[in-house]
Amino acid sequence: MNLSTSKSNHELVYIALVILALVTVGSSFLHLPGNTGVYVIFALALSQAFLVALQYMGLKIEGFMVYALMIIPLILFAIFVFLCIPDIAHYPLHLNI
């Protein structure tokens, strides 16, 4: 592990984040066919999130315990989404919005 390298990367990470943010905004004007635009925006957002988590939050040098901690909310989230899908799919039938 090279901590000094990760710290000297702050400037590079910042520049990358700004570029990715601007590209994300720009891509929203492209009117890509189908859901391609949505996928592109999510891919760019995920790239930014990984950069922040790995470089700024130091996730790349964290131990097993932190990763184990992160699994719990993700499992809860997956259960939540799974349980919500049928309800939301029928939402217009119930509330007529």
Binding site: A21, V25, S28, Q48, E62, L74, L76, P92
Partner: protein, 207 residues
């Protein structure tokens, strides 16, 4: 280096912590806080995404948001977090005065973010958009309101550290700078998802 091996009993002291090396008690505590926050934000964002998938007509309402102000806020928060990282690095090099300067920049940019958000809210209220105006606006005000509250909380924490750092009196609080930086990065991470989801999704837009 094996990070697990780096966790020794004597490292489980918050005040001994001066960097993101190993898993100290303070750092573990902040990660527990973050994991609970993930449950909150993932739940809200997940609900919003699912609703949005089934209601592409929400594009009409989201197109009323001010994209320029949203983009400015994104850049403000990115820059604010960058300076917080610089403040952390400065403290680790035992340069508290420099760290205080970076913290002040972080606070200034964080306040600017809240001010821009306030301007956005004002514009939306003037256009008759309130949390009760519909499901999209309920989600919008709830998500950005909770995120703004987290910004405010982070700013208070950074301000308290700044008071000590500017007097070269961080002492045992040095480790808290990195921990606050970790929290501040998480707040930025949430906005990285909030911004495109609320402002940029064109699904449902006329071709």
């Amino acid at each position: 280096m094996d990070n697990t091996a780096a966790v020794h009993h004597d490292e489980y002291e918050v005040e001994d912590y001066t960097g993101p090396e190993g898993t100290t008690a303070g750092r573990l505590g902040v990660w527990i806080l973050i994991s609970s926050e993930i449950v909150l934000f993932a739940g809200l964002l997940g609900s919003y995404i699912l609703f949005r998938l089934f209601h592409p007509e929400w594009y009409e309402e989201s197109s009323h948001l001010n994209l320029y102000l949203g983009t400015v806020n994104t850049l403000l928060l990115l820059t604010s977090n960058f300076f917080m990282m610089k403040a952390t690095t400065a403290v680790e090099k035992d340069d508290q005065k420099l760290s205080a300067k970076y913290m002040l920049l972080t606070i200034g940019l964080g306040l600017a973010f809240l001010m821009v958000k306030g301007v956005e809210y004002t514009l939306e209220f003037k256009h008759g958009e309130f949390p009760s105006s519909g499901p999209f606006w309920s989600f919008y005000f709830l998500l950005t309101g909770i995120h703004g509250t987290h910004i405010l909380g982070g700013l208070v924490a950074i301000f308290l550290l700044w008071i000590h750092a500017k007097n070269n009196a961080l002492g045992e609080l040095k480790g808290r700078v990195a921990l606050t930086g970790l929290y501040w990065s998480f707040v930025e991470l949430v906005w990285i998802f909030l911004f495109p989801l609320l402002y940029l999704l064109r699904e449902g837009a006329p071709k």
